[in-house]
């Protein structure tokens, strides 16, 4: 552990942790990140780059890391592409760098780097164009193997995840000095506050600095603030929580890593990660800033890192980046990082400042510590294979190019600072516009479109005193806007940090050869391997829009969204085009700020809780009796009830025969039921159904079709008239909610004068359909007081009475063609009545049947199913159901549309029956129909909408929608499933009992 400092840092030296990286065992301490522990062990090489497999190391110390991506954990818990800079170390951690095989150190694909000249920007677009069929089979798999990052686990995730919804007056994002000050101010004003930060402890940038706030060390101040916030009952502090999405109306999403830092030994019962959805009155964005690299030749070797990152590793983790560092900068602030390294006992060999006459106050101290000061100079080359070993420093000439004055400086780390980029990601996501400030080369939050404030470095105020003052003011103002306090800012605590100092934006350091020549790469986007030469090439090839350049070069399109790359890329593009950055425009940032696991997004919506399973009162009886279930909407309905040894076909055939020959029992509880009451009920029904309900007598039932005002069928069902002004409507299972909404929509928006109340009673009733020639005998046994003869209880009527002791409403309606009773009893008596009927019917051969038998039986009888025989383009006339369309009513929904030209076409698809020549052939539903066999393309004339083997007829039957079908009875057409052409005859769509002789038993 040669680079671990003996003192300083926030790590716990009493808790050593062993871990394995790229197959080697290391030791770190509690409080380390994977990155800091590797640095303390002298390891900088972590992985290989995306495209060229260049050796890569640790560039940053935070969320912006583009380069040190690792595969964490093993087996089902493995997770790809995590930033080593954010992975908290735990005992037994196992990780490896991505995109390297067999290892980052000995990468067999590194030869691609030597082919780099062959991989210019847009390489994929240019090379793998043709033939198209090769893309999927050959190019894409090969590219994915070569240029991937980590790999996804191939077993189900064993961890659990959940969600939480929170509301607050003030949400503060980021717990650096500005965020802490904001949360304290808002919390003290009495507002409900949520403070979110991705780090394990509060402090933000203070964790990496040695400044004092309010007379104590900055981290100590942050710790005291955490204690104060914890004591405020209306303040919630979420650490290890990344706010990743800022959506409309101040709705924000964050992911809390609750147990990741504990490793695989995490406690059961606690979700691993929790997705927070936070609705905030006001938002304070105190998201800080990211230091940006300078772009110079071969600036991506391991050992080259941001100056602030090196400073953080030294101050927070007691990890020295190397034995001898070189600082390359364009600003005064970065001198502090080098100075902290010297103070900690490290060595800085040289300071390379591209400014001719830098004014950094710390320059003399560094010189005194032995650093050579190279002003007006740049790093023109770096050297070293898997770690930087030396740099070539060159003085800049008057034209900005390299002069002949050059030095070779030996070092094992390079600290880079190109200035700071405010973390405007969430501001962008909120819909805010960015503004470019030329003097410091920064994109700043401009006009906000939501109720938010930006405080501290996120708004371009990089000084500590300014952050503390702005944070407090923003917090107080946000609280005031939410109705708490008078908005007067608290006095900011004193701090000792100097002002940030001068900066001269500098975008591209020349290399030893012209850009794009030779092997050197000026890396702009470390994650996507996009170089300055690629951007220049894109501009040369005619790309002008920044959005196009982004897509062509892929800059900023990695998992890091170009946090360290975008501003440099923009500036280089603008310079190439001879424009300013505002003229070129900026790209925007989208959620998520950093990648979010699918597990967190799914939460508890997995397995049985994925979606509600709606259960009827008889559900458990069906389960106990071996039903196979069919999902219908959210309901699970019995599909068929196989007996031992039966397959689907045998079970369905048995159930069908029982209904036709004896009796069957169907759970029909899922049908929608709506009570319609009021003096205008009949008027409403006359408007929404194609036929008349005002003429229906009390106690009688009528079947109705419902159409949209476009004339297309969207629901059907029976409606009973229970009283002069009271009806009970039934709907299809899947449309129950929709039909109620449809009625309410017309009543509330178009016909408010109608006096009608509509109330859903779907689950008030359990509904049992008892069907078959023996149905009357079975019902009579359990309902002795009910008059069931055809005269007193005729077809399409309703009666009330007692069935198996339960109050019941019984309908005589039939969806099978057989004598049938639909028995409705209060829901909680459903199972009792079902079992009573089963017992009473035992001697009559009663058989429970499922939805598949129901479908076969209704198809034999030629009854349609909405959604199967209709698809939203089907009129009642297409279905041959003109008989249900009123000629007398002057107006109802759908009527006007039928006289539109398209609905009068004679070649519309019409409902017909289809009989295959081979009676054993059951056509797949959806099979296309053609007139004659032939080579494709063959004109299609229709499709099969329902198709079954009919046990009653002993042959296959099908319903189909066929062009001009009604006029083609008896003609032969061909069905075309799976490449064969099967001759079929067009018939009437009723195969069984066309006269309806069976319905009375």
């Amino acid at each position: 552990m040669g680079f671990r400092l003996e003192k300083s840092g926030r790590i716990d030296r009493t808790k050593p942790l062993d871990f394995t990286f790229n197959g080697r065992r290391y030791r770190g301490f509690a409080g380390d990140t994977l990155a800091s522990a590797l640095i303390a062990n002298g390891t900088h090489l972590t992985s290989r780059s995306f495209k060229y497999h260049r050796p890569r190391g640790i560039l940053t110390a935070g969320a912006e890391e583009p380069s040190a991506l690792v595969q964490l954990g093993e087996g089902a818990r493995t997770e790809p592409n995590l930033r080593a800079t954010q992975v908290e170390l735990y005992d037994g951690l196992v990780a490896s760098g991505v995109n390297a095989w067999p290892s980052a150190s000995c990468d067999l694909a590194a030869w691609t780097g030597r082919l780099a000249p062959l991989f210019p920007a847009g390489f994929y677009y240019k090379t793998f164009l043709w033939p198209a069929s090769f893309w999927k089979a050959l190019y894409e798999p090969a590219i994915r193997r070569m240029a991937g990052l980590g790999h996804a686990p191939d077993a189900p995730d064993p961890d659990s995840y959940d969600r939480m919804n929170a509301h607050c007056d003030v949400l503060v994002v980021g717990a650096g000095p500005a965020g802490i000050a904001a949360a304290l101010a808002a919390g003290e004003a009495g507002a409900r506050v949520v403070l979110v930060d991705e780090q394990p402890a509060l402090g933000g940038a203070l964790q990496g600095l040695r400044h004092r706030v309010d007379g104590v060390d900055g981290t100590e101040w942050a710790g005291a603030a955490a204690a104060r916030l914890a004591a405020m009952p209306e303040v919630r502090v979420l650490t290890r929580t990344t706010l990743f999405g800022y959506y409309d109306h101040n709705t924000l999403s964050a992911v809390e890593r609750r147990t990741d830092h504990l490793g695989p030994g995490r406690p059961a019962g606690t979700s691993r990660q929790r997705l927070w959805t936070i609705k905030a009155g006001r938002v304070v964005l105190a998201t800080g800033a990211h230091e940006r690299p300078l772009v110079f030749a071969d600036n991506d070797r391991p050992g080259i890192m941001l100056a602030s990152a090196a400073q953080r590793y030294v101050n927070a983790y007691a990890a020295l980046p190397g034995e001898r560092a070189v600082l390359f900068t364009n600003n005064d602030a970065a001198y502090e990082a080098a100075h902290d390294i010297v103070e900690a006992g490290g060595s800085v060999g040289a300071v390379v400042d591209c400014r001719p006459q830098p004014t950094a106050p710390l320059a003399p101290a560094l010189r005194e510590a032995g650093a050579a000061l190279h002003t007006g100079s740049v790093i023109a080359a770096t050297h070293g294979a898997k770690r930087v070993r030396s740099v070539t420093v060159a003085k800049l000439g008057k034209d900005g190019g390299l002069s002949r004055e050059r030095y070779r400086i030996y070092c094992d780390s390079v600290l880079v600072s190109g200035g700071w980029s405010p973390a405007v990601h969430l501001f962008c996501q909120s819909g805010g516009r960015l503004a470019f400030e030329e003097a410091r080369g920064v994109l700043l939050p401009g006009e906000a479109t939501q109720a938010l404030q930006v405080a501290g470095a996120a708004g371009g105020s990089f000084g500590l005193a300014a952050c503390l003052a702005e944070g407090g003011a923003a917090g107080a103002e946000a609280a005031r806007a939410a109705g708490f306090g008078d908005g007067s800012p608290p006095p900011p605590p004193p701090s000792d940090a100097p002002e940030p100092g001068a900066i001269t934006p500098y975008w591209l350091a020349p290399g030893l050869k012209p850009l794009g020549h030779g092997k050197a790469k000026h890396m702009v986007d470390h994650q996507d391997d996009v170089t300055a030469a690629d951007i220049r090439l894109a501009a040369r090839e005619g790309f002008r829009s920044v959005e196009h350049v982004k897509r062509y070069t892929t800059i900023g399109m990695g998992t890091d969204q170009g946090k360290t790359a975008n501003v440099n890329g923009l500036a280089i593009l603008a310079d190439t085009l001879g424009k300013t950055v505002p003229e070129v425009g900026t790209t925007t940032y989208r959620p998520p700020y950093t990648p979010v696991t699918f597990g967190a997004l799914a939460g508890r919506d997995r397995g049985d809780l994925m979606d509600p399973v709606r259960r009827t009162a008889m559900h458990e009886w069906h389960e106990e009796n071996g039903a196979v279930f069919e999902p219908v909407g959210q309901w699970h309905r019995p599909w068929w009830y196989p007996k031992p040894g039966e397959d689907k076909h045998a079970a369905v055939a048995r159930e069908c025969r029982a209904v036709r020959e004896a009796c069957g029992l169907l759970d029909a509880s899922t049908l929608g039921k709506i009570e319609i009451a009021g003096p205008d009920s009949a008027r409403l029904l006359d408007m929404v159904y194609t036929n008349a309900f005002s003429t229906l007598k009390v106690g009688r039932v009528r079947y109705g079709l419902m159409c949209g005002d476009d004339g297309m069928v969207f629901d059907d069902g029976t409606t009973a008239r229970l009283g002069e002004n009271r009806y009970l409507m039934t709907t299809t299972t899947g449309n129950a909610a929709h039909v109620l909404e449809w009625l309410e929509e017309w009543l509330q928006t178009e016909w408010p004068e109608m006096r009608v109340w509509c109330t859903s009673v779907t689950e008030q009733w359990a509904t049992v359909a008892l069907a078959g020639p023996r149905a009357r005998d079975v019902l009579a046994a359990v309902a002795p007081a009910l008059a069931l003869d055809t005269e007193s209880f005729p077809f399409m009527s309703v009666t009330e009475g007692t069935v198996a002791g339960a109050p019941a409403r019984v309908f005589r309606i039939s969806f099978t063609g057989e004598l049938s009773f639909e028995i409705n009893v209060p829901w909680h008596h459903g199972r009792h009545v079902w079992e009573a009927l089963m017992a009473a019917g035992a001697d009559h051969g009663i058989t429970p049947y499922g939805t598949e038998a129901m479908h076969v039986l209704r198809a034999e009888r030629g009854f349609i199913i909405v959604g199967q025989e209709t698809d939203g383009t089907t009129t009642p006339q297409d279905l041959g159901m003109d008989w249900i369309v009123s000629k007398k009513k002057p107006d109802f929904l759908g009527k006007r549309a039928w006289s539109r030209a398209d609905n009068l076409r004679e070649d519309r698809k019409q409902l017909v029956g289809i009989l295959t020549e081979n009676p054993k052939e059951v056509l797949p539903e959806g099979t296309q129909l053609v007139d004659k066999p032939g080579r494709a393309p063959v004109p299609m004339i229709g499709h099969v909408s329902s198709s079954y083997m009919s046990p009653t007829l002993g042959r296959s039957i099908a319903l189909a929608l066929v062009r001009r079908g009604r006029a083609r009875m008896g003609e032969t057409v061909h069905a075309a499933p799976d490449g064969r052409f099967l001759p079929c005859t067009i018939t009437e769509p009723v195969f069984y009992d066309p006269e309806g002789a069976k319905r009375d038993g």
């Binding site: 259960r615 779907t762 689950e763």
Partner: protein, 197 residues
């Protein structure tokens, strides 16, 4: 009339799991069967509001997201500007429906028996609010939602009527029968992290 069969709860199969809750700062229980009447009337319809209130021995709440208590263990939940759910003892349902019909004769109204349509669950205890926050988007903070508050909303993937009846807090969740098993399973799952190991 003969004895009616014993009503069956949609949560019968979860009875053991429900009975095992409570040691964890949050209790989930299924309420016994109760009478429920859906009441529709136009508050502008002269006298209807008062007549209905008199028949129920209480006042129909007109403020959204509230409920009122009426006589004899009945409560009146606001569902909409012309819609209420009237809840009370199971054996009193038919009588109360008759009283309402009589009181509202001549007005444009509807009294619909929905007593068998819903299941009511009670969620109570120090962690009850947090459990609800896992699946409910409403602001349940005492500043925004206190005893007497009653809202129709979504909990997880089910529509519920959420009625806070105690400050501890105690909530009543009324849900359609077909969703009851799902909702109770979801709640039991959400409560699991508070269960002592």
């Amino acid at each position: 009339m003969a004895e009616q069969p014993v009503p069956q709860s949609p949560l019968a199969s979860l009875a053991d799991a429900l009975a095992a809750t409570g040691a964890d700062g949050v209790t989930l229980a299924a309420c016994p069967a109760r009478a429920r009447l859906n009441l529709r009337l136009d508050p502008e319809d002269g006298g209807a509001l008062e007549a209905a209130g008199a028949a129920l021995g209480g006042t129909l709440p007109l403020a959204p997201n509230t409920a009122t208590a009426a006589a004899d263990g009945w409560s009146i939940l606001w569902l909409g500007p012309n819609e209420w759910l009237v809840c009370g003892p199971a054996d009193d349902g038919a009588a109360r429906a008759g009283a309402l019909e009589a009181a509202l004769a001549g007005t444009h109204h509807a009294v619909t028996d929905v007593g068998a349509m819903y299941t009511t669950l009670t969620l109570a205890g120090a962690n009850a609010r947090t459990v609800l926050m896992k699946g409910c988007r409403l602001d349940l903070h005492p500043r925004a939602f206190a005893p007497g508050a009653c809202a129709q909303t979504a909990l997880a993937r089910a529509q519920v009527i959420l009625h806070q009846i105690g400050a501890e807090p105690v909530y009543e969740l009324t849900v359609r029968n077909s969703f009851a098993h799902y909702l109770a399973s979801w709640l039991l799952d959400a409560m699991a992290e508070y269960r002592p190991a």
